[in-house]
Symmetry: D2
């Protein structure tokens, strides 16, 4: 209710501040009997980690996960699974310069007014550091879904004005992991990398988009009328730091089409009902129809700049602020596993919810 | 949990099928002591009603609301408020032609597979008729917000390729209600109207977008980290029939900007902290910052066409389907009050949730 | 959240005041594909209805249920089921005498202070009239459970000092329905009836207890650690008007026993694991163990007396109050179907919740 | 939803197994701005801790709490508060003797059947060790309530047949903490202690009851109709390990009274509305009326006996089981702070919920 939990039956609660002792999470509702591969959790944490390449933050967060509960001899028991990740790389002095100041387009001002005080160290609870807990939880969800043959893959589909114009069906998505930008189009990836480096040199930042795809979702997931599958996916994505928009299937472009162009015609193929096109993005009436689910997420440019910006302090005085430390010039490469994690959480939750639909 | 409720503290539950006895709703959690103006509810229902103009569905739904509970001498008591709207205009024979068939891009197939059966009359529970309950509930929420001086206004910002390019700040929003398209730019409205009429003659349909604005929201509404104000707004909008996308503030366009262009610089003006620009769309870190909240919602073209379409029936046989009855060629004019209603529900809920933040 | 809903996956929301237009309910989460026998709903409403015998309230409430949604050709569709029951027998003038007065041990004072106003007509929302909605919903839940072979039966186990000392296993529970007190021990039932008549003549009221039993519950229902099956049963019962206590299995008497007397020894019988005794009341560690679930619920004497009582009005002045109209001298006979209904709601909810436990 | 969370606005989630790495908790929804006194948390943990006296378990659990999040410079920030308590005293070998066996009246059998496997070490998640997290959370809730002047005090009111017959109003409750039984009647406390020692020598255990009282609760807390204050208190208490019953105010004894004896007559005293008697236990219509709230909780005898008991193993073979290690012969002395903690959680939650009642 205070906003730190997500999901109904597969429910994640996260806790911890950027510069507190630890970031942690509890997953309640993970089915019992799942042998949990901790390496898969580590692998996704590693994908999210700063310092992986020259175009992301150079912070050194080892992000070692400690599983405190919920497993017995490596298998889930149905009890809540909790993990913590200690914050080893915090240097309090890095943040004293912003203690009383409101960084532009950050949550400093709103948190201060909402709560009457704030943990200013690295943004405290509002920091994207919190997403490490999401990625850890998502790696559990992916394993639940994996048992059902489901796979989720996200990739960077634009950085600034450089955009992948091909649909995901014409890309080899696994190639996204072969370059630091996480764009499956090698040539565009190189251009994006170049752009990010240029922007970083200017002490500036740049936005971008991520496309996510879920393969082999069974027909029937999603709940009418408020908990439509895409509504929950949308909320999940919009809850990620820096996200400004969400669209699925034909999205905003679909608004320009006529019904006769946009409708997905059903046909039977090899005994299975499919649609000839997929403007629906795999979801009709809020419920999965068995086609690929795909969506796109908009990320704004990172707010912390490595150059002077005007602002005010908590007393309304004009001040100048400049970022210190190690920040991302562009958030999308590291946000790819976060998008996947949130999608996995939504889908696992709706998998469990769907079980209650029939006698 | 089965998806028919929305909100936490100000909680709407809707029920009823397109061609059942009634559409109804319960609002639980409306604060006591609010003198409820039923005319304001009727007025919003009237705005959503079919048959208002030549460009919308010509169905005759009088949509008279019957308040069953929650008021005493016209004032809310804190008890659940329920209303029902009888479905008077249903003609069961209108729908026998689709009983066993799956209409393209409708929820027929997915409901059938999810639930093992479906009420095929007019889409049953998946019909946009359900939104009448949302509008009624939204009209209560608007009155709660009205007590706080808050106003919500939505308008059609595009139909097909015809788009309002000016920001909302350069429009007189109240003028949207002066034309049947509900676009505040008179000239564009005329073009949109013409386009819709042309499309309708073709037996076709067209998509569009709606922009929503909330004025005078206090600083501090919204909950970190999953229940960010824009995440809940996004879910609310995405739960509306035919919605394919949501963006707020700078949205998808913001992804192309640099941080130095996008950051909203704070300043003190007349003793109040404001930002010079509002790319943030009034929300920072998921919490309202006192600036206008604005967002844009994408609606696909209506799926029911007045011309032949290929499809299949529930046994996989190929069939031809053609819409009968009275349908909208473009949904956005009538969806304006629905967008406002959903925004009002989210904001009222977060108003109440915010009360629990401090001792 | 405002307290008018119950259950997680099988979720009941009730609305309506004692003397408003209608009492109503929505059940969200009823599985699809259940042919609903409306006569079974009517039958339970009839059991709860006033005016059935000389020892209960003589109000004439026909309690005809109108199903507004959720069925298609008599079968549940997975959409929310709503029903309303019109309030036909209300005479507003009956209640003007208590408009500004606080009836002793009623909710008049607390509602007034909590909400700042109250619907004084017959107690408004605090009236036991609300339980008609629970009974209607419970009759749906019983049908879900019936599909699984589960049966729930409650009976009056005491009125005042007259108490059934035999355990339920030595009674023929179906005989409870053969007398107006709903006590399966014929001789004690006659004494209870006599007592209630005597008490009524005095213009007084008397308390009592109801015992509930659920037969053939599968092993495994209930959720650790907060949503133990008996904890949810307890909350369900304590939410019924006039209830003061709940115990299950050995209950309060069990506190006097030694572990060696109280432990239920497992054994295998006909290939099935059972316990020799059932002090556990069919629940161990909060989870059903396959034995009968039984519990006891304490009801206080009805607060409305047909004789003068001292009280105060809303301004603190001393006043005298005397009940008017038709009230129950003892609530337990009519509360039997309410206890059954609440038990059915809890069990159906946990049946659905249990489905999410395993992959 | 999987049962490991409690409360709506002040929401506790616990995690951890008896013999896992740690027991932990997250409190989401604690208002910001509360200077948290960690010593008060330690003090309540100390009261719950084993090994405090000769009549409780002699396990050595230091129970040092580590606060991971939610505080900034000692004050709550509105972010989730998490704490962990490492399990230092686990000896895996202690439990191998029960690995495949079902201890009578424990959760071994039901967990095994529900989840398909179980952590048999010390009961795993079903162990009362989990309550350490509740006590830590309750100590936070007590501090929130303390700001409002509210105090909660529980005490042992019976052990076996030895029962405190005086009402709490005739006792000095603070004296409960002066003896190891936690009974405020010194002479009865001595007898209880003697009884427990005798029972322990027999390798047996004994049940008991705890009475809880909350002082200075404002009028108006509690939500109609399902979330009555006593219904939530009842669920809270029934969720504690070994609890078999709950009653408040007049409770089960009240069922024997007549309305004319049981009704609490209002009067104005020193400008404040009070009732002459308090059979209502401070709650009318589910809402606090400003009088003391009091209730009684029944605990069964501990199931683990230090002597041979017949049972079966997971294959249905007959086996003999005998407790090892250090167990409580009677749980009530150590359960006193647990009862207080659960009461504090319920009251704090309803305090926050009540804030949403009015505009």
């Amino acid at each position: 209710m205070a906003g730190n939990s997500f999901g109904e039956l597969f429910r994640l609660t996260t806790f911890g501040e950027s510069h507190g002792k630890a970031i942690g999470m509890v997953v309640d509702g993970c089915p019992s009997g799942l042998p949990l591969d901790v390496d898969l959790i580590r692998k996704d944490l590693q994908r999210r980690r700063p310092g992986q390449s020259a175009i992301v933050s150079q912070r050194d967060e080892p992000d070692e996960v400690d599983i405190l509960s919920g497993l017995f001899e490596g298998t889930t028991t149905g009890a809540p699974i909790s993990m913590i990740i200690l914050n080893r790389d915090y240097k309090i002095s890095d943040y004293s310069h912003i203690a009383g100041k409101y960084r532009p387009s950050h949550a400093d001002y709103t948190y201060d007014k909402k709560f009457g005080l704030r943990d200013y160290r690295g943004g405290g609870r509002s920091s994207a550091r919190e997403t490490v807990a999401r990625v850890a939880a998502g790696a559990i969800a992916k394993q639940v879904l994996g048992k059902l043959g489901i796979q989720i893959q996200a990739y960077v589909s634009s950085v600034g004005h450089i955009s992948v114009d091909k649909p995901y069906t014409e890309l080899v998505l696994s190639e996204a992991e072969l370059n630091p930008v996480r764009c499956p189009d090698k040539e565009l990836a190189a251009k994006m990398e170049e752009l990010i480096k240029k922007i970083r040199k200017q002490g500036d930042t740049i936005g971008g988009t991520i496309t996510g795809v879920a393969f082999r979702i069974p027909v029937g997931w999603g709940e009418p009328v408020f908990d439509k599958l895409h509504a929950d996916l949308g909320k999940a994505m919009l809850s990620i730091n820096a996200v400004k928009g969400f669209e699925y299937g034909s999205g905003f472009d679909g608004t320009k089409l006529k019904g006769s162009e946009h409708n997905d015609i059903f046909e039977k193929s090899n005994g299975r009902i499919i649609t000839k096109t997929n403007f629906s993005g795999g979801i009709q009436g809020g419920i999965s129809n068995g086609m690929d689910i795909f969506f796109r997420v908009a990320f704004k440019p990172v707010s912390t700049l490595m150059r002077d910006q005007d602002s005010i302090d908590s007393e309304g005085n004009r001040v100048v602020i400049k970022g210190k430390g190690r920040h991302d010039p562009c958030v999308v490469p590291r946000a790819v596993p976060i998008v996947e994690a949130m999608a996995a959480l939504v889908l696992t939750d709706h998998y469990l919810r769907h079980k209650a639909t029939r006698l």
